[in-house]
Subunit: 343 residues, 2 copies
């Protein structure tokens, strides 16, 4: 009896997969950073490689995606079609079930007919799974690029928005993360010898440089490309941060770089905390009593939950180690349970 | 008698040159967008081409640069040396005079000994020239990427900062411009159907998309690369702007895109106006009575000067048409006047 299931989270900068060999078993996870916008035609090959690293393509696959927003696609509609084409090409013999923002799986054909229903639905998969264990919680998943802040009330996902735009307005999606976020998108000014200095509006440094410098992540966690193509050492990260104020490591000492990095990390925490507060405000008396954290930026999620006065826990047993590939694990678990009311 | 002089402004994203065949003549200007950070080894070839387009390399060349901050260089020191090497390779028979932040020309050899003196000195060349015609003025040069706000008092350049960092702190350098500035570095939120929406921290759209959409620039002014590699039509620019709020042109109408673009343009104007006010505050009673505008983002400079309550004029006769290559013209004019106290 072949019960194996592969869950996919196909993003614009990362491809993640989770394999489940038994219902409610322990998932095996694989992740591959991939700059889709630069070489979209390479996607199907990456999908095939990732599946191979998890023992080859099983008969059933669950799919979520956010890649359709990548700017190699003229519209989201075209992006969804492209991702489905790539999956089809990589796995001609597998049956694809595509998860939608309405919390249902669709056949590949049905997904192609309603592409916007399956765009950016990965958060819904994770939150649906979390809701089973924590019927009243705020699910906070801080990834490499974005943060999801999803309320769960009475065992149901109580998100107010379904599209990226609607979620960005409501604070349920925040474009800040542990790795890829450009420093110039987080702060306008940085501390400099006790004063404040405007920053360069260039992609000189990213969040990964900040958190590597501060020791919140290690070199092996810095899985995205470096902005300048140089290495991932602490010194190289520091040089990138110094460039944000038009300086270099000849003119800026380590203490000054640390002050800058701390300023960015705090600002990211505030961005997420503000979103948490916005979501909680909307819920009024139904607001959940705790936060469930996931993602490689959990240290940011925890700081934000603390700042918002919310106790927090983790869901590793459910979502896999660190919850770093929570949507892929979630979509695998949900599909593995077998038939429901799928469209 | 060979009086021809070529002035260079070697930036990280643009190479500009101005040729002067007679002292105080009318300059001929050439510009070439060039992503130095991506292929630094191509610089010398670009320099040679630009010089050829202006009648070939003359015996004397004046040089300013900002390219040394590009992140293909580990430090500014190395960046300066690299640019000088490229000039030397492109023009083995020309004599180079390198302009410094102290307002003096140096021989190539002297510049190599003091690289930080000749780093990011292009604003000093323009302001020195402007000071001759307007002894009390605020020189505001808004380029593709950055804005310079330089006070001129009693015929002298009265800038408080000499390095990029010092200038960023004082408001004499603002990283906002008419073309290359990422939208996510300007605004945190954009209007969306009467409400405010968080923006994507991605390089989905840049200032050129904003100003093209609004008609402040035309397609031929959009000289930098587009973020998504697509075209420069109004519709393509609009699609890039829509992506900033996770939308596309299927879900956002033209009116909504206009509201977003106007919000970004206003925010850029405010950034420059705040810098103008900061510079003016420092000058106290010595504050100049008018602004002299230059650069391809003059429309932003004018809006900012208006907002700061400063009447403004232009310096086309002095700095060339539109002042779009002001530092190259300035360094050519200053060098053409012949020997001074050069080091």
């Amino acid at each position: 009896l072949n019960t194996a299931v592969l869950g996919w989270d196909v993003g614009g900068a990362n491809v993640k997969a989770a394999r489940l060999d038994e219902v409610d078993g322990v998932p095996r996870v694989a992740e591959r950073p991939f700059a889709l916008w630069r070489e979209p035609e390479g996607l199907w090959g990456v999908l095939a490689e990732v599946a191979a690293s998890l023992g080859g393509p099983p008969q059933r696959m669950g799919v979520t995606m956010t890649a359709e927003l990548a700017d190699c696609f003229a519209s989201k509609r075209r992006g969804v079609a492209f991702v489905l084409d790539a999956l089809r090409r990589a796995f001609p013999r597998s049956r694809l079930w595509v998860y939608g923002v309405d919390g249902r799986f669709r056949s590949e054909e049905a997904a192609r007919r309603k592409p916007l229903r399956v765009a950016a639905a990965n958060w819904m998969a994770s939150a649906t799974l979390v809701a089973e264990a924590w019927p009243n919680a705020l699910f906070v998943d801080v990834g490499s690029t974005t943060s999801d802040v999803i309320p769960i009330v009475g065992g149901l996902v109580a998100a107010g928005g379904r599209s990226d735009s609607a979620r960005l307005r409501r604070g349920e999606l925040v474009y800040t993360g542990a790795l890829r976020t450009p420093v110039c998108a987080v702060v306008r000014r940085l501390p400099w010898r006790g004063r404040r200095c405007r920053v360069a509006a260039e992609l000189f440094a990213i969040a990964a440089d900040v958190h590597l410098w501060l020791g919140s992540i290690g070199e092996s966690d810095y899985t995205c490309e470096t902005p300048d193509g140089r290495g991932r050492s602490r010194e190289e990260a520091g040089a990138r941060l110094a460039r944000m104020v038009g300086a270099d490591l000849e003119s800026l000492d380590a203490e000054a770089v640390t002050a800058m990095a701390e300023c960015v990390a705090r600002a990211q925490g505030r961005q997420i905390a503000a979103a948490i507060r916005q979501v909680m405000r909307r819920l009024g008396a139904r607001r959940p009593p705790l936060a469930v954290l996931a993602g490689r930026g959990r240290f940011l999620a925890r700081a934000a939950a603390d700042a918002a006065g919310l106790p927090s826990g983790e869901a590793d047993a459910l979502l896999g180690p660190g919850g770093a590939a929570a949507p892929a694990v979630a979509v695998a678990r949900l599909l593995a349970r077998g038939p429901r009311t799928w469209r």
